[in-house]
Symmetry: C2
């Protein structure tokens, strides 16, 4: 396989994985493209490479910037904006963990906390079952939350060193 084809495959695979995990396919593809691009790219180049419209390219890049995965770059003497992705995979993983925690896990924990407080008849099976599930999920969610927090704060060596060693 040659580089051009391989790059294409990588972009496709990253896009597919993203969409399976609730991330816009195009956003994942733009990210993939920037990941394998040695130089920062313009909106124009992104549009061209992925055959997408200007509007789409613009919004997608903006989203990636909001996710903390991509940054703007300005070249001296040029009006155009260039974009490049952080190439450090560990940073990327942490950044994604951070954003999804904030956007999705935190709100769910808030709701679970409320639902945990609901009072009811301890003899009622409907209440007992509801309460057990909510309480258990709440505990799990909080543990995941703590784990993510630690991961987000930790540096790479700490993580691979202390944690993965355990998982052999």
């Amino acid at each position: 396989m040659e580089l051009t084809e391989a790059r294409q495959k990588f972009i496709e695979a990253w896009g597919k994985l993203g969409s399976e995990w609730g991330i816009n396919r195009t956003m994942a593809q733009v990210h993939a493209l920037l990941l394998i691009s040695p130089e920062a790219l313009t909106t124009e180049e992104i549009m061209e490479s992925l055959s997408i419209s200007r509007g789409n390219a613009n919004m997608t890049v903006r989203d990636l910037i909001n996710w903390g995965l991509v940054e703007k770059q300005h070249k001296p003497g040029e009006r155009k904006e260039y974009f490049f992705a952080d190439k450090d995979v560990w940073n990327i993983a942490r950044q994604v963990a951070k954003e999804r925690r904030k956007r999705e896990l935190d709100p769910v924990i808030k709701i679970l906390d409320e639902l945990s407080k609901v009072q009811g008849d301890a003899k009622d099976p409907a209440f007992k079952t509801f309460n057990k599930s909510v309480t258990d999920i709440n505990k799990l969610a909080k543990n995941v939350d703590k784990t993510l927090e630690t991961m987000i704060k930790a540096d790479e060596n700490w993580f691979w060193g202390s944690v993965l060693k355990i998982f052999k």
Copy 2:
């Protein structure tokens, strides 16, 4: 808040979280409903509770069974099928991890392995960048894979005991 409203909120929240993570909203809602139901339910009851069609209820329940999250139950003397969800949150988490690994992570690792083998000019920045990203992501993916495998095999105490302790 009273139980009926709380149950509703839980189903909604679970559905929303599911859809944000690439799991069909209805599937997550049916799962939530079964989770908080002390007794196994019929298709009819699921349709009624969630206001969904027979076809949708049927397919969704089948999917949940394929995911290993729900089981059929037969009551003596009755033709109808009853469905109930495993209530053990740790099992649920493991089951989801197992299925998604098989369906999504494994195929991606296969592609990354291929892409890692692509040869190119070591002086070419395009090749160097491509190669670094692919190699790094491959390593991360394999570590995640190993971690999931260990988690899937492990029992609950082992997990909360040895791992979460580290995360304080």
